[in-house]
Assembly symmetry: C2
Amino acid sequence: MNIGKAAEASGVSAKMIRYYEAVDLIPAPVRTQSGYRDYSDRDVHTLRFIQRARSLGFTVEQMRNLLSLWQDRHRASADVRKVAMQHIVDLERKIDELQQMRNTLAHLADHCQNDGRPDCPILEELARAPCAGS
Amino acid sequence: MNIGKAAEASGVSAKMIRYYEAVDLIPAPVRTQSGYRDYSDRDVHTLRFIQRARSLGFTVEQMRNLLSLWQDRHRASADVRKVAMQHIVDLERKIDELQQMRNTLAHLADHCQNDGRPDCPILEELARAPCAGS
DNA sequence: GATAAACCTTGCCACTGTGTCAAGGTCAAG
DNA sequence: CTTGACCTTGACACAGTGGCAAGGTTTATC
């Protein structure tokens, strides 16, 4: 199966398949006589695994970890869970950050006249000089 | 004021100040005879504005917009609010995405035995073949 | 069998935003 | 005047992804 078919079957773009190969996340596949990459169903299965992990926000490095656990028949489920839990912590930190931004902005937007006049608390906040007294 | 002082005074690193200049977010400052960038208090004020906008997650492109509104005495507050509201929508979309990832993962981790055995619903989910019936 | 369309190959550039490092010039304090 | 702290430019890196270009291949159509 050439890269186009593998991309379609796995949901990972051809471009990204080549990228994952370049960063050694997946092994280089065999090549046809004319140099085309040739993927097996097993390869596509792996790509689908990667696609799912990406959609859950795992980084390439985390996927490296997950893939080796996946391929290790003697893994401990606790090890997998540890990777997942760490990622959950990362996600939660990120969510918190974004929510703080959102809340601050929503608060400012709430106090904006929202009309043709130039006075705007949003810009005022951004331009505010940091002063010792506040 | 040279770039180091301006960085310290504004909270934007020297590196990023040069970057913002390179992408035309801020104008190139005057130079001393020896070629050092020379910033005014006004420049630092602008940098502080940028620093605050960045901390609220605005992109460089959005800041370009905000800066020109800020510097336009005849702006309409509604225009500023529109930029902010769009960013809020973007933030909320991102938050939703991350929360979905988090929830999926938390659910999977919850069902993980978390022991030395290899069976793990997290890996099983990632490896699951997509089938018409589910 | 020829030709055209659709695909593959590699390689390079772009983006965001930030860090680091190097080689060389400059300034300030001792 | 020397030393150390700073400035300058330039380059490379990161994560992932998109795009383009020039060239080879395969497939389908005539």
